[in-house]
């Protein structure tokens, strides 16, 4: 008897897992079709995901990024599944009321529910990984080679080390790196370390480096440019608040009407300039700024302008410091190299700190490595010299750091003492705990002034700590992405000098795949366990959250909060998926901000778990977090179900599900005549109060916002971000507008309650024209207008108002073109007319069209950007769009006036009868009497 009950309930719960009403409010009898579509979609996705398995054998960065992508995608899919099955995970009022009168034990109901949830979850993951779950393990097993990776563990803390004792400590800590790691004999790798503490100085080197080896110091050069700014400012040749424009050749840029970029803005990364200019077209990725001349930089500024964005938060910019170096050199009437020599290196006696090496220095210059066994080209930064062009030795840089640490000891160096002090005045916040002076960053937690640097073949790090009276410089000849140890070396030295636990410099070896059957079985098992656990973790998080809120809130408030939680969970899943770093080098995982972020990113925990299950010692701390997270999530879910077992069932019966009364204030505006107002206000209220419609719209908007986030990230990489209109910004707003209108049109077509639409049918609704007006106003009010307002808020805060206004006008007209096209065809009132589920052909068409649309959109955005400076061209563009809008509007209106354009409540053109269920007598399920 109990088994039969369990089986019946299990089947019912399983087929009701996905909220069919969410997908279609009228999906009677189409359950199998919808499930079929789900499965087809996931299998299609699985085939696509198989293609990624080609990264196997491409190195740890590619492999880890690939596996992480698969884990993150699994978590996203399961997260979305959790959202779709939001109301089916716990017994609800319907379950309780229907099952309570029947002779069924609560335990049976719960067990059937848990079994259905587990089955649905497993099926989702199994469908998604049906193919990928074989291809990926096979590829990894077959092609993965053994490779070192950071251990991400900490050496135990020892007492603060002094300068004299540091070398012996480092000898011990670097033991493995010197034997088998990047500093081992024959690798070419080397590191030079300079340390000064309480007046004692030591210089020592490892591997191929010598204490006097010359390295590229990369972005540590920026601190020299800042000192130059301090020098010229102290000498009265410039002021910090002087506009950049005044230090550029005449006619380079047009004087702006708004606030101008100043030298202080450039020296604190607050000018709103991109990381790199977008007219940089490097021939070699290893020497990106080679051949980029001062003329190119000026040409970029002519295009970009010198207006400072109204809101210009910290944005790290090589271009900004390159320009600052060029500008100071122009004002001083000398080359940047001359200026550095006369103002800094000569007074401080830094003979080996130069931009161009002499013949003797060239002999001492160590070769840089872009990857193991791959020597990098030397940097040749030209116009970017102020950002990254200097070469130096550990000894010279240590002298420079001591001067920064104790400017008062500088004698006979003119204004240098004051200039250094100027660079140490804190001027802005970078992030919580980080502030900055001119070029130098300041960690307020440890009291450390610091700056790092990296070029294609070198890594550098310089810091000084006034509170510890120490300074140190660490120079290595390897790219930090390729040599994990180099990225953590400086942090290790700092921790040793301060007596803190130091991140381990040991590397662990990720073993090779093996290639055999047993290796495949292990990879296969590790893959599936990881994916199932990562999916279960996300699902359990959702369950735990729901269960907790259900316990804390009275039932009626829980029901209201639940729908917003659902939307918030959707935003979180999509946001995290698109925002979190996807391409992470092993070294990045170990240190700095990446480390802090990744330590809290569940998808990276499961990457660690996958490593652990595969027998790799890498990422063990992340794997540990994964196990803890699983234990917590599973525990929370078990608690939630237990509490639901004992309390929620009773709460459902005892507490009313009456939604709390609204405030009674009617804030929804009128939409013109009575009918248009009725339709418009009904649409606004339905969208605000209907969970299924809100969520469906969120899916469409989510795609738009995801693209916006993605393009913003891409802009920063490509140097296309900032105050000038980037193509990414234009595309984002265009896409959000188009998806908003299309999404709203689709959401409109889903009825909120078909049986209640009799009131519209029964009302004296005006003809086609009147309906068209009402529909148009509702569509504009809920899609075009909000997007325009939101876009205006963003554009006016980041762009000059003229440019913002121009794009806004074009965007609004484009929105009306799309809206008018959407209004064409059969007339249906929003949220009231029937919708046949399974009409996914529209979505597929949309998907295919979007591929074409994306290409066209980028070209259109580029064209629009070019036309911002061309008044007649811009006017022609807007006129063209306007002509489209007018034509589309006339066409839609003409159709609305025609007999075919009359309002239709039913999807089918000629219904046998109106399935209104107005009267039960003789009416069957299909409405036939």
């Amino acid at each position: 008897m109990k088994e039969t009950q369990f089986r019946v309930l299990y089947k019912q719960f399983l087929f009701r897992m996905v909220d069919l009403e969410l997908l279609s409010a009228d999906a009677k009898g189409d359950m199998s079709k919808l499930f079929g579509q789900f499965a087809a979609l996931l299998i299609f996705l699985s085939i696509g995901l198989c293609l990624g398995a080609g990264v196997a054998g491409g190195g740890l960065v590619a492999e880890w990024s690939g596996v992480h992508f698969m884990i993150a995608t699994t978590m996203l899919v399961v997260g979305l599944f959790a959202i779709l099955s939001w109301d089916s995970t716990f017994p609800d009022r319907r379950d309780v009321m229907v099952l309570a009168p029947l002779p069924i034990r609560s335990r049976t109901v719960f067990l059937a529910k848990v079994a259905a949830v587990a089955t649905a979850l497993s099926l989702t993951i199994a469908t998604l990984h049906g193919l990928a779950g074989v291809v990926w393990p096979f590829s990894l097993n077959h092609y993965h080679r053994a490779e070192p990776a950071p251990a991400i563990t900490f050496d135990s803390a020892i007492a603060p080390v002094d300068a004299a004792g540091l070398q012996s400590v480092m000898d011990r800590d670097l033991e493995q790196a010197l034997k088998t790691g990047p500093l081992a004999p024959g690798t070419g790798g080397g590191a030079a370390i300079g340390v000064w503490k309480h007046g004692v100085q030591r210089l020592f080197a490892y591997g191929a480096a010598r204490p006097d080896s010359i390295f590229e110091i990369g972005s540590v050069s920026k601190t020299f440019t800042a000192v130059l700014l301090g020098q010229l400012a102290t000498q009265g040749k410039v002021t910090l608040d002087e506009p950049l424009r005044e230090l550029l050749p005449p006619e380079t840029v047009v004087p702006p009407s708004g606030v101008e970029i100043t030298l202080r803005d450039l020296a604190t990364h607050q000018a709103g300039l991109p990381r790199m200019p977008n007219n940089l077209h490097p021939a070699s990725a290893l020497n990106p700024s080679a051949g980029y001349t001062t003329g190119d930089a000026y040409a970029f500024m002519k295009y970009w302008g010198v207006t400072k964005a109204p809101v210009a938060p910290f944005a790290y910019s090589h271009l900004g410091f390159g320009l600052l170096g060029d500008a100071l050199a122009y004002r001083a009437g000398r080359s940047f190299a001359d200026l550095v020599r006369s103002e800094i290196t000569e007074p401080l006696g830094m003979r080996d700190t130069v931009l161009q090496l002499s013949a003797e220095q060239r002999e001492r210059a160590i070769a840089g490595y872009a990857a193991p066994q791959r020597i990098a080209d030397g940097i040749d930064p030209d116009a970017m010299s102020g950002a990254m062009g200097i070469r130096s030795t550990a000894g010279d840089l240590l002298r420079y750091l001591v001067a920064n640490l104790h400017p008062e000891t500088i004698v006979n160096a003119g204004t240098l003492q004051a200039a250094l002090t100027t660079t140490h005045e804190l001027r802005t916040n970078v992030m919580p705990g980080w502030r900055m002076g001119l070029a130098w960053f300041y960690d307020s937690d440890t009291g450390t002034w610091f700056h790092g640097g990296a070029t294609a073949g070198f890594t550098s790090y310089a810091f000084f700590q006034p509170n510890n009276d120490c300074a140190a410089v660490i120079l290595t000849n390897g790219n930090p992405d390729a040599f994990a140890v180099y990225n953590v070396l400086a942090e290790h030295v700092r921790a040793r000098l301060s007596g803190e636990p130091a991140i381990s410099l040991d590397a662990v070896v990720v073993p090779a795949g093996g290639g055999g059957i047993s290796g495949f079985i292990r990879q296969f098992a590790a893959w599936w366990i990881t994916m199932l656990l990562s999916g279960a973790f996300i699902y359990c998080c959702v369950l735990g959250l729901q269960g907790l809120v259900a316990q804390l809130l009275p039932r009626r408030y829980f029901l209201r909060a639940s729908s917003f939680l659902q939307l918030a969970a959707f935003g979180t899943f999509v946001g995290v998926y698109f925002l979190e770093p996807k391409l992470v080098a092993p070294g990045e995982i170990a240190v700095g901000r990446s480390s802090a972020y990744l330590a809290w990113s569940p998808s990276y925990w499961f990457l660690g778990l996958f490593q652990q299950l595969n027998g790799s010692p890498a990422l063990a701390p992340l794997a540990r977090r994964a196990w803890i997270a699983i234990a917590i999530a599973f525990g929370a879910t078990a608690s939630a179900y237990t509490l639901a077992y004992f309390r929620t069932m009773r709460k459902i019966v005892e507490e009313p599900e009456i939604a709390p009364a609204s405030g009674g204030r009617s804030w929804v505006p009128g939409f013109g005549n009575g009918f248009a107002t009725a339709v418009g206000q009904f649409s606004v209220r339905t969208l605000l109060r209907s969970r299924q419609h809100r969520l469906l719209l969120a899916f469409y908007m989510g795609v738009g916002f995801a693209f916006a986030i993605f393009s913003r990230k891409t802009d920063h990489v490509s140097g296309d971000a900032g105050q000038v209109v980037s193509v990414g910004l234009l595309c984002s707003t265009i896409l959000i507008m188009v998806l908003s209108v299309l999404g709203m049109r689709i959401v409109f077509s889903l009825p909120t309650d078909m049986r209640a639409n009799w009131i519209f049918r029964f009302s004296p609704i005006p003809g086609g024209q009147g309906c068209m007006i009402a529909r148009r106003r509702a569509l504009y009010a809920l899609s075009v207008v909000p997007v325009c307002l939101g876009t205006a808020a963003v554009l006016f805060s980041v762009l000059a108002w003229q440019v913002a206004m121009k794009h806004l006008v074009a965007l609004a007209v484009l929105g009306s073109v799309v809206a008018e096209v959407c209004l064409h065809g059969r007339q249906k009132l929003p949220f009231t007319c029937s919708y046949l589920p399974g009409k996914s052909n529209f979505n597929i068409s949309l998907l295919l069209c979007s591929l074409v649309f994306f290409t066209g959109m980028v070209n259109a955005a580029e064209l629009e950007r070019e036309l911002f400076d061309n008044a007649s061209g811009y006017a022609a563009l807007v006129a063209l769009l306007l002509a489209f809008a007018i034509c589309a509007r006339r066409s839609a209106t003409r159709f609305a006036k025609s007999p075919e354009g009359q309002l239709q409540f039913e999807e089918a053109a000629e219904p046998a009868v109106y399935a209104l269920d107005l009267h039960r007598d003789g009416v069957t399920e299909t409405g036939i009497i």
Binding site: P656, E657, I658, A659, A661, S662, G663, G664, S666, N673, G674, F675, T677, A678, Q681, F682, R685, T686, R689, S690, T752, D753, R755, A756, W758, I759, F760, R761, F762, S763, P764, I765, P766, G767, A912, V913, Y914, L916, D917, L918, H919, R920, D921, G922, V923, I928, I929
Partner: protein, 254 residues
């Protein structure tokens, strides 16, 4: 006056309504009766204009209703049997929306809605979503919505469904009062006693055909039966109710 003249509705293989003709006059409450499947609901849909007759015509004050359906809907109020309402709207929002759909002026309609909500004891719950209303409260909203525009014809389909005794008595008086004020009222119910008390005239359908159209008094005299229930049983109920109930009881007992 509402007049149905030889109304017929055919579906594939089924004759749902067969040449039905009757009149509902102003000042009268016309009871509209029939067992399940008699074509009552189909006729109601044809009167509301939601369904087109296969043949025949429906007139109101001598004008065919299908000549201008929009104008016709302005003159008619309708209380459906099932209280299907948009649950996410509050009672007040729903009635305001109905007023707007009917093109009624804002201020007088707002006052009228306020008055109706007070009289129906819904004022305190006017900002609560309809989904939280009881069946009786929903019925009150439906009645208010049907009467909001002061219609000339009122179609009532089981209007007492879910109402408490007090409100039911008020509604009964209200129907008679509206009829007395010259409205045409077509009133459908399965409660014979209520129909007998409220209606002056009844129309009875059976298997799609009209089997009675007269005042209750005349029918009583003509058929020599004491109550409307007996008349209805005679005309439209084919089963032997006693025998059927015995069979059911026997079946349950096994």
């Amino acid at each position: 006056m509402l007049e149905l003249r030889d109304i017929t509705k055919r579906f594939v293989g089924t004759l749902a309504v067969d040449r039905v003709s009757f009149r509902a006059r102003a000042g009268e409450v016309t009871g509209y009766l029939g067992p399940n499947g008699s074509g009552k609901s189909t006729t109601m849909k044809m009167i509301t204009g939601l369904m087109e007759p296969s043949s025949g015509h429906i007139f109101f004050d001598g004008i065919p209703i299908r000549q201008d359906l929009v104008a016709w809907k302005r003159r008619m109020g309708y209380v459906p049997e099932e209280p299907h309402l948009y649950g996410h709207l509050t009672g007040l929002e729903y009635l305001v929306m109905v007023g707007q759909l009917r093109g009624l002026p804002d201020k007088p309609t707002a006052d009228k809605i306020d008055g109706l909500l007070c009289l129906f004891s819904l004022h305190g719950d006017r900002h609560v979503p309809v989904s939280s209303y009881s069946k009786g409260m929903r019925q009150k909203v439906l009645i208010s919505a049907a009467l909001l525009h002061n219609p000339e014809l009122i179609l009532l389909d089981e209007p007492f469904s879910g109402l408490d005794v007090g409100t039911g008595l008020v509604l009964r008086s209200l129907i008679q009062e509206l009829a007395a004020r010259g409205k045409v009222i077509l009133f459908s119910s399965h409660e014979m006693e209520t129909v007998e008390r409220v209606s002056s005239r009844v129309v009875i359908l059976h298997r799609g055909k009209l089997v009675a159209d007269d005042s209750i008094e005349n029918l009583r005299n003509l058929m020599a039966l004491p109550t409307l229930e007996k008349i209805f049983s005679q005309l439209a109920v084919e089963q032997d109710t006693g025998a059927m109930s015995r069979e059911i009881a026997d079946l349950i007992q096994g």
